[in-house]
Amino acid sequence: MSANNGFDKLENALIVAGRNVPYPATPPLAARVRAQLESERAQRPFWSINWNGPRWAFTFIAAVLIALVLLLAFPDTREAIAQLIGLRTVRIIQVTPTPTVPGATPVPSATPGVAPVTQCCQTTLEAATARARFKILLPPGDTPSQVFLQPVFGSGNDAAQFIAVFGDPNAPRYVLYQAQHIVYEKMLSGFEKQLGPATVVDMTLVNGHEARWLSGAPHLLVRLDANGSPLVDTERAVSANTLVWEMGEMTYRLETTLSEAEAIHLAESLVAVSPPTNLAQCCETTLEDARARAHFQILVPRGETPSKVYLQEKFLNDIAQQVILVFGDAEKPRLIIYESQNFVYGKVLSASSKDAGPRTLIDFTYVNGNEARWLSGEPHLLVYLDARGERVVGSERTVSMNTLVWETGDATFGTTYRLETNLSETEAVRLAESMQ
C-alpha cells in the first residue's frame, strides 16, 4: 500500500504499518458509556450535581449539598460524595460543621486572598531544580519571589513538595504547589457557618488532565499518610481560589486570585525548568588524582600521556562524573577523550533526511566487543541530557572532529567513552582498543 509522498522512507513505513495493525474489534463503547451514564444518573440522589450545567447551578446545588451533608453524616454517603468529585491524589469531602483532624490543634483560620507561605525549606530555584526528582514546572515569563523544596515525611517514600510564590511574599499573586507521591484531602463545609457561602467545586481539565476548581468559601487542606489517614498538624485553611490537577504521579495546586479561565490558562502554559549545570570545562587536575577520585576506571591509550586532565564532579546530577583527557597541544589538541558516568549525551546530526547537502555519517562498529559508533563527515551538535532524558539548555557544543563513542557496562553502572580525533576510523578503533 502506498502512503503520502511528502514523507521519507521511514515515515512512509510507519504509516503503512499503522494501516496494517491487526486491531482487535472495537468494543461497543457507545452502548457501554450510555449505560454507565444512565446508571450514574439513577444512583445519584435528586440533589446531586449536573457538572455540565450552568455555573449558578453549581453554586446552588453545592450550597444545598453542604446543607444536606450536615444531615448526611453517614460514612457511606460521604464516601459516595468523595468519589463523585475527588481526584486520585486529592480527596474532596464534605464534613460536619467542625472539621477535625485526629489529634490536631484547633482549626487554623483563613486569611483572605492567597496566604503567604510560612513553611519550611526555603531555597533557590537553581538548587530546587537540581535537587528535585521531578520536573519542576513554571509559567514562562514569570519568576517566583520565593521557592521552597520540602522533603515530606509520613506520606510515603520519596514524597516531596515544591512551592513557588509569585509576587509580594506577604500578599502573593499566586502560589504554585507541585507535589510528588503526596495525597491530600480537602474538607469543604467546615467554615460554612462562620463565613457564609459554600465552597464551589467545578470539574474541569488542564491540558486534558482532570482538574478541580475550588472557589467560594475557604476549605481546609490536610495531608494524608500512606494509609490515607490525616497527618497531624498538616491542616491549613485555604481561602484563595484553588485549581488542582494531576499529571502522572504529580499533583499540582494553584492558589490564586485569578478567575477559573485565567487559572487554567496559566496552568496550561507551565513549562519545565531545566536543571542548572556547570558546563565549563572546569576542574583541571592530574591523572593520578583523577584516577584516585573517579568512580570508574579511567582508561588512557597505551603509550600516550595527556597534556591536560580535568575531573568534573556532580556534573548534571549529584553522582555524575566526567573526565576529560587532552592529548597534544592544549590549544589545538590532536585527541580529546571524554570518559563519563551517570549522565547521557544526545547527538544532533548535521542534516535532516530531506537536506541534499553533506551530512554527518554514522558507522556502526565495535571497540573490544562493545558496540560503538563512528561519526564523521559534517560536524554534529552534542547536547547533554538530564536525568529525564531532556536536553539541558545551554549544553550544546558543536563537534567538528570525527568522534568514536562506545560504552561499557550497563545502563545503570555503565561508562561512556567519547574520543574526538582527526584519525581515521580504523586508527581510532585501534587506539580505543589499546586504552588501559
Binding site: L10, L14, V21, Y23, P24, T26, V33, N52, M203, S352
Partner: protein, 200 residues
C-alpha cells in the same frame, strides 16, 4: 466529501455536543459512536493491550462527558477527546514493568496472525510491519504516543499540536527527534530494517 457536507457534519457534531452539555445522554451516545473506533485504536496503539485499550477509551468518554462543561462550543472535538484518550492511555503505561509485559503481549498477539499461510511478499511485508512496531515499542511512552498520533492515526501536525496541547513548532521538532531516535534503535537492534533509515 464536499466542503458543504463537511460543514454540515461539523454543525451536527456541535449540536450533539451542545445537547450532551445539557445532559442529553442519547446525544452523547451518538458522539461516542462517531469516535469510538478512533479512541479505541489510539488507546490500543499506546497500551498495546485490548482490554486496557477498551477500559482507557471507555474511561475517556466518561471523563469527557463529565468535563463537557469546560468544552468550548465551536472548537474541534476530536483533538480534545484524543487528548483525554492519550493521557489516560499513557497513565496506564506508567509502570515500566507493566509496559514490558504489555509489549510482550502485543508481540505474541501479532504473531498469532501468522498462522495463516500467505504469499511470500505479503508475509515479508507483514514481518516488516511487526518488526517496525517492535522498534517503535522501544521508544518512551510519550514518543510512542507522538508516533501513534502522527503516523499510525495519520493526524496532521496541527491536530497533533492541538491534541498534545503544544505549539506546532514543538510538534515538528519532537517528531524530528523521535524519528532520529527510532532510526538509532533500528540501526542498533533491528538491522533487518536498516533499509528504512537509508535516507538518514
Amino acid at each position: 466529501m464536499t466542503p458543504g457536507a463537511v460543514e454540515r457534519e461539523l454543525n451536527e457534531e456541535q449540536d450533539l455536543i451542545a445537547r450532551a452539555q445539557r445532559g442529553d445522554t442519547r446525544a452523547y451516545e451518538s458522539l461516542v459512536r462517531q469516535y469510538e473506533q478512533l479512541a479505541f485504536r489510539a488507546a490500543f496503539l499506546i497500551t498495546r493491550n485490548e482490554s486496557e485499550a477498551a477500559d482507557a477509551a471507555q474511561d475517556a468518554f466518561l471523563r469527557a462527558y463529565h468535563a463537557l462543561g469546560s468544552f468550548k462550543l465551536g472548537q474541534p472535538f476530536r483533538p480534545w477527546l484524543l487528548r483525554i484518550v492519550t493521557n489516560l492511555s499513557l497513565n496506564r503505561l506508567q509502570s515500566a514493568q507493566r509496559r514490558t509485559r504489555m509489549t510482550e503481549r502485543y508481540t505474541q498477539q501479532i504473531l498469532v496472525g501468522e498462522e495463516n499461510p500467505s504469499p511470500q511478499r505479503a508475509a515479508e511485508e507483514r514481518e516488516q510491519h511487526e518488526r517496525l512496531m517492535q522498534a517503535v515499542a522501544k521508544l518512551s511512552a510519550d514518543e510512542q504516543a507522538l508516533i501513534t498520533l502522527r503516523y499510525f492515526l495519520e493526524l496532521p501536525e496541527s491536530e497533533v499540536a492541538q491534541t498534545l496541547k503544544i505549539p506546532l513548532g514543538t510538534v515538528k521538532s519532537r517528531v524530528h527527534r523521535t524519528l532520529a531516535k527510532l532510526r538509532e534503535i533500528i540501526q542498533r537492534e533491528f538491522p533487518d530494517l536498516k533499509e528504512l533509515t537509508i535516507s538518514y
